[in-house]
Amino acid sequence: MSYSTKSPWIIHYDGSSCNGCDIEVLACLTPMYDLERFGIVNTGNPKHADILLITGSINEQNRDVVKQIYEQMPEPKVVVAIGICATSGGVFKKCYNILGGVDKVIPVDIYVPGCAARPEAIIDGVVKALRILEEKSKALHNKGGKVQ
């Protein structure tokens, strides 16, 4: 079993969201939902993170930022797009400055729908992400990428 799933550390980045999903992500960390039950810690630093929770859609200016955060996360890593904005652009999809969902710039592993995504949905999404994380972790090790 991979320990990644026991201790998934997250980083949260806010693309061009309306804050709605953002605060719901944060709410997940607070007493009512307490993601730390699953060993989840909000690291705020891509270099420590395993899961990128990203809310809001991609626009011209944050495109490179999102890419860079993703690149700076060490493998194995998963990306969870939270909220309709992050999955498809949502109500803003037709805006001139919106390129669309997060999958426009980085590969997304889990889409969490909702506007705003409910904390429960976010938890579900993260739990699903853990499975993917586990697979990725196995794949990484089978490649012989590292010795334990």
């Binding site: 007493p31 307490d34 730390e36 060993g39 705020g44 270099k47 420590h48 395993d50 990428g145 590292k146």
Partner: protein, 289 residues
């Protein structure tokens, strides 16, 4: 006698991470409960470290690992010297060396937030070092030896004449445990003004080393707390262990009861405490007791 010390040294190497881990886990659990949360499992720190070991190994430069490894190594050596009944001043100096390695690791990455973290870490060292030295001097004056083994077997409880120093030491323990109000250079909390400070650029195994080093370090520091209560009898030891545990959770409580203060406060307050509690107590030890 020598064999005994060898045993306790090996015991430290083997057991300290286990105790350190559990303490770290309990700290998180208790903190969570204080915040009306469920919190992670107690062995969560273990998972974290295993996870970090598993991660893909990336770094920002090739020398960083060396420094971090030395940090861990010298923390362990510090603890070994301590638990082998060694000289307290040597313990302090080795600990300083270890911490300097951590600082260098942060500097070496040449990244903005690591550097600010390193700077703050050094600054914190400057803040707590006098009190640490005074504590050791206090032991010497109270017991007549810098040797842990002598203090362990001394017949009077050091705390009796070292109450002030004990308070001062607890104060700087907040800095050493990286707890609010003085978790300035790095913090377990994400919402830190300097990102992750010292550890910003560490990842994977390097970060795991830092974590493990903290376990070792915490146990060693609690060992010093324990030392205040040794009088060569079994109940002295019991009191020591209990107080050490209590002080650990006291720190957790303090962590949850304070905001991170401005960094300026750290130096001022810990120097004031060093003078008020440490130095005056040392003076009393010299002139009165």
């Amino acid at each position: 006698m020598n064999v005994l010390y060898l045993v306790s040294m090996i015991g430290y190497i083997v057991l300290a991470p286990i105790f350190g881990l559990v303490l770290a886990g309990l700290d998180r659990k208790v903190s969570a409960r204080m915040q009306r949360r469920v919190g992670p499992p107690v062995v969560q720190p273990y998972y974290d470290v295993r996870k970090l070991m598993e991660k893909d190994q990336v770094t920002v430069n090739k020398v960083q690992d060396f420094y971090v490894f030395c940090f861990l190594l010298f923390i362990v050596i510090t603890g070994c010297i301590f638990f082998a009944g060694g000289d307290l001043l040597l313990v302090v100096f080795t600990l300083t060396l270890a911490n300097v390695f951590l600082v260098l690791a942060a500097y070496s990455s040449n990244s903005p937030y690591s550097q600010v973290g390193a700077e703050r870490e050094l600054y914190q060292m400057m803040a707590y070092e006098p009190m640490v030295l005074l504590t050791m001097i206090g032991f010497y004056l109270a017991v007549g030896s810098f040797n842990v083994s002598d203090i362990l077997n001394g017949d009077k409880m050091p705390i009796v004449t070292m109450v002030g120093i004990f308070v001062g030491f607890l104060f700087i323990l907040t800095i050493k445990f990286r707890k609010s109000p003085f978790d300035l250079s790095m913090s377990h909390h994400a919402h830190q003004d300097i990102v992750k400070g010292v550890t910003t650029e560490f990842s994977g195994r390097t970060l795991a080393y830092v974590e493990i080093a903290h376990w070792y370090e915490n146990i060693m520091l609690l060992g010093i707390v324990f030392l205040f209560f040794c009088n060569g009898t079994w109940w002295g030891y019991v009191i020591g262990v209990v107080v050490a545990a209590v002080s650990f959770f006291l720190e957790t409580f303090i962590d949850n009861s304070f905001a991170r203060m401005k960094w300026q406060v750290a130096l001022k307050s810990s120097w004031v405490v060093s003078i008020l509690f440490g130095l005056i107590n040392v003076a009393l030890l010299i002139w009165v007791f």
